[in-house]
Symmetry: C2
Subunit: 137 residues, 2 copies
């Protein structure tokens, strides 16, 4: 399929397909939009200087570099939403959400020089980190 | 594009495109697989009867029903991965990861009859819930 046909396909269906979405495309349940056969690595950071915009920006800069690790399929750099109920923890500064295909890719990420350099260069910024790793039930 | 051409497109590119992946496809950065312009709603449940497989199955059943809420774009029902380091919290029973397009869709989900029914029917199972809502930095 040439580029023109691909554009037409996208136009026709209202959908875009690109390399970065393979993990969802190939492993989602088309009926329910369920993500399956994935490894979710979700990290929440609390800054030493809570509320310091400059430190937050530095951490985002670090995570942007970290996102280059090859085994990362998809990622999101987030901040707390405006929602606020008793059960919601809005106290963290930055959310770092990463999708891997499997635990092997996650283990590779942990040992990746880019990851080690990230910890070396940016860990002085945070006072607390909580990680939740999840796989399919 | 007819069905046959679409299949060919998928075959040619090694990618699958489907309605459920729109949120990633349309809103990801193709170079870096970055998810953008999304609302991440990530909930961790702790069971009253910690480690009780039957109660965990019931909660998964409830979340599967909950996943029918229309404004949910993608979701994942997870359990703690095998990873275990100091910073990792492996104490929760179930991870409920939901992607919305925006806060409005999340608010609609909160008020959805399916959601209210889920809380009514299954909240007796859990002792603690932590919610992290994140949006783009």
């Amino acid at each position: 399929m040439n580029r023109s046909s691909r554009r037409q396909f996208i136009k026709n269906t209202g959908m875009t397909a690109m390399a970065g979405t393979v993990i969802f495309a190939a492993q989602s349940n088309p009926e329910k939009n369920e993500m399956k056969k994935i490894f979710i690595h979700h990290v929440y950071f609390w800054l030493k200087n809570a509320g310091n915009a400059s430190d937050r920006d530095k951490l985002v800069e670090g995570l942007t570099k970290l996102s280059k690790v090859k085994t990362i399929k998809n990622f999101h750099i987030g901040k707390p939403a405006a929602t606020n109920r008793d059960v919601i923890d809005t106290s963290y500064a930055i959310s770092w959400f990463v999708l891997f295909e499997n635990d092997g890719d996650q283990a590779s990420y942990q040992a990746d020089p880019i990851h080690l350099k990230f910890v070396e260069d940016y860990s002085h910024l945070w006072s607390k980190v909580i990680v939740y790793d999840s796989v399919d039930v």
